[in-house]
Every structure is written in C-alpha cells, then in structure tokens.
Amino acid sequence: MSSPTTRPKKRKATPSMHANAPKRIHVKNFKLARKIDPQAFLDQTWQKINDALDVVFHKQSEINFSLEELYHSVENLCQQRLAQQVKERLEAKCRTYVGGTLKERVKETVGREDVDVLRATIQVWATWNHQLKYLDWIFCYLDRAYLVPRRESLRELAVDLFRSIVFEHPKLNSRIVDGACHLVALDRADEDLDRLTLHKAIKMFHDMQVYTKHFEPRLLELSQKYIMEWADVASADKTLSDYVKGGRALIKKEKTRVEDFRLDASTQRDLLRLLEDHLISRKEARLTNQDDFADLLEDNAVEDLELLYTFLERRRSGVKLRAAFMKWIEETGTAIVFDEKEQDGMVVKLLSLKRQLDTIWKVAFHRDADLGHGLREAFETFMNKTKKSSQTWNTDNSKPGEMIAKYVDVLLRGGAKAIPAQLNRPVDKPAAVEAVEDNEDLIFDEDSEVNSQLDQVLDLFRFVHGKAVFEAFYKKDLARRLLMGRSASADAERSMLSRLKTECGAGFTANLEQMFKDIELSREEMASYKMLMEERNEKHSLDLTVNVLSASAWPTYPTVSVIIPPQIKTATDKFERHYKAKHSGRKLDWKHALAHCQIRAKFPRGAKELVVSSFQAIVLLLFNGLNEDEHVDYNYLKETTGLPPPELNRTLQSLACAKLRPLTKHPKGREINPTDSFTLNTNFTDPKYRIKINTVQLKETAAENKETHERVAADRNYETQAAIVRILKSRKRINHSELVAETIKATRSRGTLHVPDIKRNIDRLIEKEFLEREDDGAYSYIA
C-alpha cells in the first residue's frame, strides 16, 4: 500500500525534466478499490470455515466443502493480515469443542474403572488426531506463514488444548495415568494384558509429552511398591536359589516389557535401579545368608551359585558372599581334618573339596579375585588348626601334614593306579572348564596323571604352615621306598623332589637329595665291588647288595640286635672290609631291620621264591631241613635268632598269622606266646611263584608313628628354645609378652606356637641357665 503514495511524486518530476519532449501517454496506476471491509470479509469467510469445522467436528454429514477453497480462504485471510484473528477464532472454536464434546465423552466413563477412562481418552485422542488432519489441511497456510515464524504450530496448539482440557483435568488426570499403570500391574500379575491399549496409551503419553511428567513418576511409584512387596514375600517364602531365580525372572520380565512397549530409556534405567535396589541391595542379608548359601555349597549347585553370584554382581556385591563362603569352607574343612574315624581318607576328601571349590570359584564366581583370596585364606585357616588328640599322640602336630605325606607315598608307590576313583579327573569336571583349561591334557599318560595329582596335593601342602610333620613322614616313607625298591617311578620321585624344592627351598630338601645320592652311590659301589669279585674269581651263591647311608640324612633307625646267619655274615664282613679299605676313617653300622631278601624255599607242595624281610628269612632258615611234624618252640627261636621279643613276635606273626602262612603256629591264635611252637605249613601254596610277604616291614607301626610325632614335637621344642635364645642374645633384656610375641614371629614358618608351649620352653631355658628371671618379671640373657 505504500507504493501508490510514492509513485505519483516521481511521475510529477519526470515531465519537468522533459519539458520539450513530445507528448506522452501516461498510464495511471491501476488502483484497486477497496470494496469490502476486512472485518466483514473475515466474518464472511470464517462463517464458511466454521461451517466446515462443524462438519468435521460433529460429523453431521459427509464433507461437503472443497478443502482447496477453504485453504485459499485462509490464505486470503492471512494475506489480509487477519491471521491473528483467524488463529484466535480457531483456538476458541477448538477449545469449545475439546472442552465440550470430547471432554464429555471421557467424563461419561468417570464412574467406571480407570482402564475404561483410559480407553475413552485414547479413543477421543484418536478422534481428535483424525480431525486434526482436516485442520492441518485447511489451516496449512496459517501454520506455515504465521505460526511457524512465531515458533508455534497448529499441531502443538491442538495438542496443548487437548492436554490442558482433557488430560490435565483434575478429575481425569490421575484416572488416565492409573489406567495405564493398572494395565502394567495386570501384566505383572500374569493376567491378560490389553497390549494394544497399553501400546496406544504409551504412544499417546509420548505424543502429548506427558510421559516424563505424569506417567513415569506414577509408574515408578507403583512399581516400587510392587517390587518391594514381591521381594518381601519372596524372600520370606522361597529358598535362596528360588528367590534368585524369581528375582532374575522378574528383572527380565520388566526389561522385556520396557522394550516391548518402547518405554523410555530413563524408565528402563530407573526401573532397573529400583529392581536392583529392592531385590539385591536391600535383601543382601538374605542373599548372603550363611545357612542357605551353605546348602547350595553342600549340594555343589554350581549353576545356582552362579545365578546367585551374577545376581549379586549386578550391584557389585558378589564380594559379600565372602564371609559365608569362608565360613562354610572352614567348617567343612575342619570337620574333615578332625574326623578321627576317617583319617586315612582325609587327603582324598580335602582334594575333592578343593577341586569342588575351585570349580565353583571358576565357574560360578567367575574367578572373582576377592572370593579366591577368601577360599585360600579359609583353607589355610582350617588346615593349620591343631588339636591335641590321640591321633597325634597328644602333640599339636598338624595331622594334614602327616596325611599329605602318606598320600604322596601311596601315589609314588602305586603310580596312577593308586589314584582314588573320585579324583580321576575326567569324571567330575564340568565340560566348560575342561574345554578351556585341559586342552593340553587331553592326551594324558600315567606320568602326567600322577604329576597332576602331585600338583593338587602340593596345592594342599602349600596351606600347611608346619612343614616339619610333613618332612618327617615324607622322609620316613621315602626311605622305605628307596630301601625296599618300592617306588613306582623314579621320574615321579624326582619331580616330587623338585616340586618340594621350589616350594620349601633347598634347605628343606637337602636331606632328601642326600638320600637319593646315597642310593645312587651305593649302586655304583656295588657295581664296582661285583666287578672286583669277578676279577678275583670269587663266586658267591649269595647275591649281596648293600645300601650305604649317610646316617644324618636318613631317619634314625634303632639298631636291633640279631644273630646273622654265618653265610650272610661272611658276605657282609667281606664287603665291610672292602668298604673300609676304600674309605678310610669310616665304619659301617649294619641296619639289619631294614634289610630284605629273596629266598627260594621248597615247600611240600612246590618250590616258591619268597621276598621276605631279613628277620623273616632268619627265622625261616631255622626250619631248613626240618620235617613237617618237627616242632620248633618259641624259646629256641628266641635264642638262635637273638631277636628282642617284640621284633620276634612281629616276625612270627607275619609268618604264621597273616594271609600267607609258610609256618603254622601251635596252638592256633593271633597272638604269639612264649609257650607257642611252630611247624612248617605243609599246605602252603600260592598261584604265584614269586611271593612278597615282607609287608610287615613296609607298614608303619603305631609305635613308629608315635615316635615320629614325638620327635617332631621335640624338634619343635628345640627350635623354639633356639629362637628364644637368639632373641635374648640380641635384646639382652625383654619382658614376657614381648618375648612370647617375638618367638611366635620367629617360628611362624613352622606354624603358630601355643603360648603355654613357649612358657614351658622358657622355663626349661631358665633351668639350663641360659636366661634368668629378674625381679620385675623381665628376662635377661646369661652370657
């Protein structure tokens, strides 16, 4: 409208510039006459639109207007700068409509259930959306040209209207939201879910942008209540593993629902947090309950344990199992260690326990470092528990140490055959672990089998603090194996030795190595001795082998007096002379109790070759040339063999009362009496030609066991005293409690000492005048 006012001025100026120019034709500006008043135009056009809207809103009849025409009308109105008014009228129109018809339709359902309110709302919302399409078409120009530049939009306007009038209506709002939540609750209760409605509701909430503001908080609030109730009921009613399973299922279900209905990521996050908080964190005491957890361990329920662990791990509280885990291990372990009836099976049981726990740790606890430490700690605790019992002859030696040594002995004597069935590994390892770890072991031979057993035993051994008991028994057993030639495999012996060396240091194995060296040297010695004999052409009916020991490296053996048969005596004397000549300054102490021999004996029912102990041989020799009915009485045997009665009794018992009986005792009975007499067993026979009856020599007697235990205990006392003296030497003066603490510290490698034992050793040292007690109770060293 501004151009018509400026243009005439220009035109006036032009003629003056061309005054003499020829006449020109002037075309005057075409002026549009304003025929209609804009307000009237608006009213008129709006009337049309209004009619059309009524049709749309109330569906009175089919659409009977041209959308294009209406669109142009709106466009015209906008161009006439009437957009503002159009918008206002439209808003007013919609407001009446939404507040009237639509709201009424929802309100009709107020008397019914929440879900029905929700359904009505969804329906109305759908209608409204449908009608919006028409509005969009008709008012498109308004939207683009007027509203969008003002950061508004027709759609927003419409949604806002619906939200503020229908959804946020105080009476309706909570009903609608609760309707949706009720649907979720139905699903939780496993009842039929109207999935479509819920879907639509969620979409509506999203479209109306009320999801976060209205729906989510309410949903979470109700969820929390539900979860709390569930957790309380379930934790009270269900067993631990069922609770865990239920909890996991619940979490999974909630998660699936969130995904299915496209709930917000924030909802999922908050819901999970709620779930974890209520199911795990607040029920931690229940989840780590000692008794229930112990039941699972007892049943070796690896899968359930894994579920439990991973369940707790959601909250990073898998570690909380540690206390219960350790307690169970300690209790179970202690029961095994102190099970006095089943001492022999102790190591096997411990090994299976260790393996079971290792598997649980690897598979169920995903190698959790903390739980692993707990496992080892607990093992260490119970393995080092000591109790003065008849099993250890009232010393506080560690029984596991002894039993481990004996188990190793069984392994090294028997080889792979000696491995108890329940420890044969292909049987009870879960496939998963085996696949990961044991690939290289798929082809295993006997040696590697024994080796892996040794490794496992050593794993146990590592837990034992007081290695002295183990050392003592291992040494005794090793000596027996070496001297009787009872080792299954020299390789296994050597690998055990090297393992011990890495485990306990060279000092620990020095004596054991010396024992091997002695046997090796003796073999060479015998070889050269025999060669020498052959050179001298001295033939012997008797094949003599001598093992010369370095006394200090071997266990101490008592010298048993015995009268050696002359033929043996000559042979040994000859060897002794040879040995003395070769090694000046040495002499030999014969340990006849350790000797064994092979004899050929002609029994009435066939000749046999017997492997017997030296004492057995000496006794049998006395029956040489006797007839079957010639009795030899006890006293005669005693005099001719020169054996002390206990040894003689043992020997006779092994010959006349054991499974294989070359001799017959008169009268019959298990105990040997001085009045007994013996004859040859004429019925003696055996399917095998070569028979070993020297087991009596191999077996450890109760007295030997006692002696070993007592010696270890005595050694320990000396060690304790030495430690006390060393401490006093460096400190000169020390008070009692400090001395006790220092002593425990100094001797820890041998296991923790009991205070009364330390006191007793202090008293002994005072008696020996190494230290003295001063007036104030402190001790001082007497130089």
Partner: protein
C-alpha cells in the same frame, strides 16, 4: 623243606671310625656331627686325622692352622700337624674324591 637265600639286600649306615663319645678338640661337637659352620654332616664336613693321632673336623683344623699363632701345630699336643690320611689317599687312588682328602699345606 629247604631254604636258600638267593639275594640279600643289606642296609648299612656309615660313620666316622671314632670312639662313640669323643668330640672334636676344637669345636667340641661330636665327630659325627658337623663343625660349627656346616649344616649337613657326612661327606660335606669330613674329619682329618693327624699323624699325632689327634683328629678334628677338617674345617676346624684348617681354620686353626690358618691362624698365625698356631704355627701349624696340633692344638692338642703342640707337634707340627700332619695329616695321616694323605698317605691313605695315595694308597687307594680309586677312592672317590668327594671327601676332598686334604693336604697338609692348605696355604
């Protein structure tokens, strides 16, 4: 009945050929025990018998002889100390060297 022994596996422990209750004149430990420095008795810590018939742990007498004041004399009888076993060692050259038979002049 006839019994013949075919094979006899004897066991013997060797020790120094000394009277049972005698001790080394230097360290006062039994001969079958070690000198004061060693940990393992036996071949590792042998004895040395002097011509004067006084014997000591080899390590003991060595450290004694190494001292100036000893003038290489036996601490028991003050005669010059000479090892007897050297002759023994030369007499049986086949003897294993593990005992490291000493000579009289360790310096």
């Amino acid at each position: 009945m006839k019994v013949t022994i075919k094979e006899w596996n004897a066991v013997a422990a060797w020790r120094w050929d000394m009277p049972d209750d005698d001790v080394c004149g230097i360290c006062r430990n039994p001969y079958d025990s070690t000198c004061s420095k060693c940990k393992f008795p036996g071949d590792e810590c042998p004895l040395l018998l002097g011509e004067c018939n006084h014997s000591f742990h080899m390590h003991c007498i060595y450290s004694w002889i190494r001292q100036e004041s000893s003038q290489e004399k036996c601490p028991m009888c003050r005669q010059p100390f000479k090892s007897k076993s050297q002759t023994a060692a030369t007499a049986t050259p086949t003897a294993e060297g593990q005992a490291q038979e000493p000579t009289t002049s360790p310096l």
